[in-house]
Symmetry: C2
Subunit: 115 residues, 2 copies
Amino acid sequence: MIRRKEEMKTYDRPQMKGGTGKAVLTDLLDASEMFGKGRLFSTITLQPGDSIGGHTHEKEAEIFYILEGEALAVDNGQEAKLKPGDVLYTGDGDSHSIANCGQQTLRFVALILYV
Amino acid sequence: MIRRKEEMKTYDRPQMKGGTGKAVLTDLLDASEMFGKGRLFSTITLQPGDSIGGHTHEKEAEIFYILEGEALAVDNGQEAKLKPGDVLYTGDGDSHSIANCGQQTLRFVALILYV
């Protein structure tokens, strides 16, 4: 089955997890298409200055894969810059936040799997 | 945990599934990091003219998310061109193949989840 970019569900999450501005999500899969193995497989876009606030994942892991732009992440309390091709892996009980710290659009793939 | 692009495992799969040339895979996660929920979360790169041959997925589903380039896919026997942002969803018992039919590098994310 082919799902065209134009057909995908895209939606805003203002101040996501207490962040600034808004995150724009495009679902590559619906949670119901993940066979109970996870709940998110999406791209997330943040404009410069926008962020997703810090939060902890319980009984699940989230992977961010950076596609474009520059991110400032906090990974269990430690700051790190991320560039295209880098992965941020947030395991069960771990916390993260992510902000667009560059001048261009930040876009990444997000995958949440249950542990 | 941060995994830099340069640290990821990249490897060739010549004539993958009976295809032409080679597929170059970069693992974003190792299968052991997927909690038994799947077995692949990687990027796959095909140069012009290269392909992954037709094959069927059993007891699993594979999702291709096109990042760059132009693909000719066969989805359960039906040909379709794919462009960046499109998804090819191959469910349990379904078959697919994919070829780089363009003049530029074709790159996509591949995710395999168990059904």
